[in-house]
Symmetry: C2
Subunit: 376 residues, 2 copies
Amino acid sequence: MKFDLIKTDEKSKARAGVIETAHGKIETPIFMPVGTVASVKGVHQRELEEDIKAQIILGNTYHLYLRPGLDVLEQAGGLHKFNGWERPILTDSGGYQVYSLSGTRKIVEEGVTFQSHIDGSRHLFTPEGVMDIQRTIGADIIMAFDECTPYPCEYSYAKNSMEMTHRWLKRCCDRFDETEGKYGYDQTLFPIVQGSTYKDLRKESAEKIASFEREGNAIGGLSVGEPAEEMYEMAEIVCDILPADKPRYLMGVGTPENIIENIALGVDMFDCVMPTRNARNGMVFTSEGIMNMKNKKWEKCFEPLDPNGTSFVDSFYSKAYVRHLFVSKERLAGQIASIHNLAFYLWLVKEARRHILEGDFTSWKDSIVPKLRNRL
Amino acid sequence: MKFDLIKTDEKSKARAGVIETAHGKIETPIFMPVGTVASVKGVHQRELEEDIKAQIILGNTYHLYLRPGLDVLEQAGGLHKFNGWERPILTDSGGYQVYSLSGTRKIVEEGVTFQSHIDGSRHLFTPEGVMDIQRTIGADIIMAFDECTPYPCEYSYAKNSMEMTHRWLKRCCDRFDETEGKYGYDQTLFPIVQGSTYKDLRKESAEKIASFEREGNAIGGLSVGEPAEEMYEMAEIVCDILPADKPRYLMGVGTPENIIENIALGVDMFDCVMPTRNARNGMVFTSEGIMNMKNKKWEKCFEPLDPNGTSFVDSFYSKAYVRHLFVSKERLAGQIASIHNLAFYLWLVKEARRHILEGDFTSWKDSIVPKLRNRL
C-alpha cells in the first residue's frame, strides 16, 4: 500500500491524499460503505460503483467468518471474487461484533471466546487467528484485533484493555508479517488506537500504535455513545500524534457533521452503517438537511427526491413517491434511500477533498455544517 | 388502442401481435410484471426498462386506491408520472383483492362493500366507481369490475356470479364511454370472462363478453387453485370464442409452463406475482429448470447465476453468492432473484414470439416445456 499526502489545509488539519492498493486508488478523505455480510444492504455492486461512486467498501470479519465461512471464501478466491466487487476492500477485525452481538463471551489474554448469534456455536478469536481469517477473506486493508471498550468505561478497565490491545497488536503484527496474501496481491495491516475517552490513555495509545510503523493507523472505541465533543477531542489528540504521512481511519463514524468535523482534525477514512441503516428507516441526508421520508409533509411534494443529489434516484423519484413507498413498506423505499444516502456521503467527502485542494475548506465547512443539521 | 395480429401459428393457436397504446407498443405474447402499490417489489424502474425489458407493467386498483390514494395520484398527473414508468400500464379492477384481502365484505347488485386491510376503514366499490378510479390512476388498459369466483365453486353460485359480472360490465362500459381520460391520452377497457370451471358457463360468458366489442378481452377466475388441465381447457374454450383480432389477457397466470401452454391456446397477455414472490423465497426460474437458491448444493458453485440469462445479475453474481445472500437473509438476495425471474419471464415470451414468427413454435414448445419443469 502507498499513501500520497497531496495537501494539508492551512486553517485546519484537513488533508487530501491518495491511497494506492492492489485493487486501485482511493482518494482521501473517503467514506467506506459497510458491506457487513459481503453485501451493502439493498444495494447492487454496480450501483455502488456507478451511482454511488464508492472507492472502497468494508466487510465484517465476524459476519464473514460465520457466513459464508472461510472455506467458501477461500474456494471463491477471496471476497472480491465472491461478491464481484473489484475495488479495494477493508475488513474490520471482528472485535466490535464479538462484543456487541454475541451472547456470552469471555475476554482473556489468549483471545475471546464467543457464541455465534446465528446458531449459538462456540468460537475463539485470537490475534493470530483473526490475521489468518482476514488473509483468507483477502481484504486489501485488514485491521488488528482489539478490544473496543464501551462508553462510559472505568479508567482502570480502559487502561487494562488498552494495554491488552497493544499486546495483541504485537501478536497481530508478528503473525501478519510471517504470512502472505493468499491470492497473489499484497494486503496491509492497520493497528487501532484505544483508550476510551481518557486523554492520557489516548495519547499513550497513539504513541504506542505509531511506534509499530504500519502503513496506516486507525482510531477505535469512539462513536460508541459519547458526546460528539468528546469524540472530537479524542480524535484531535490522536491525529496530532499519528504520523502525517500515513492515512488515519476513524472507525464507525458517523453523521455527515461528524465526518466533516473529523476531516478538519486530520482524519482520512470513515465507515458507518448510518447512511444505510437510517435509510431503511426513512431518514434521508442531503446538503440542505435531513428529511424523514415518512412525514406527511412529503405526501404531495412531487419535486425530485434531492435536486442537488448526484445519483439517479435523486432526479428520477419524487419525494411524494418515496414517501408513499415508505408508508406502504415497499422494499424499493429502502433501496432508493440507501443509494441516495451513500451517494450523498461520497459526494460530501469528495466536496471536502475539493475544498481542501482549493484552499477554502474551512469556509466551506462553516457554511455547510449548519445546513447538515437542518430538519427539513 | 390498436392491435395488429401479425401471425398465427399453423400447428397451434399461438399468435404474435403488436398492441399500440398512448405510452408505446407492446409486442405480444407478453408478460406484465406486477407493480402492486406503484412499485414492482424490490425492482427499480430503470431495471424494469433496461435489464428486464418489461414493455408494460400492472398496477392494483385496490392497493392504489388505498395508498397513495386518488388525491395524490391525480395531483401527480396519474400513475405514470407518479412512479416514473413511462411505458404502458394496465390496472386490474380491484375485484380480486377485495375478495382475497379484505376482511368482511359484502357483494350485492350495487357493488361490494369492504374493509381496508390497512386500517379497517369501510369502502364501496361499484362498477361505475371503479371506472372512475382507473380513469384517475390513468392506466392505458383498465379492467372491468367483476367477481372472481373461488375454486371449487358451486355451479349455481358460478352462474349467478357470472350473470352479475355481465350486468356489471354493462355499467362499466356505460360509465367508461361517457367519461374521458384525465391526462390527455386515451385509455381502453377490457371486459373479463368468468364462469369458473364450467364449460357451458365459460362459453356463455365468452360470447357475452365478445358481444360488447371492446378493444381487448380478458379471462378471469382461473389460476385460483384448479388443476392446470382445467385451466387449459377453459382457456381454450374461451379463446376459440373471443375475437381473433383483439388481444386476449389471461389474468394471474402463472408458471413458465402455464404461460407457454396458454400461448399455444391463443392467449396474448399474462401477469403473475410468481416471478417476484417466489424470487423473494429463493426460487429462480431458468430455461434449464428451477433452482432453490437456499439449497446447500449451491454453496460452492461459483458459476454464474444463469449462464443463459439475459440480465446483468445472471453473469455478475454466482450461484454461491446468491445462495449466501439468501441464507444470510440479505435484501440483495430478493432483488437479484426478482430481476432474474422477471427478465427470464420476458425472455420466455419473447422467445415464444420469435418462434411463432419463425414458424417453429410447436417444436420449440415441446423441447422447452419439459426443461422448465426440471428441479436443478
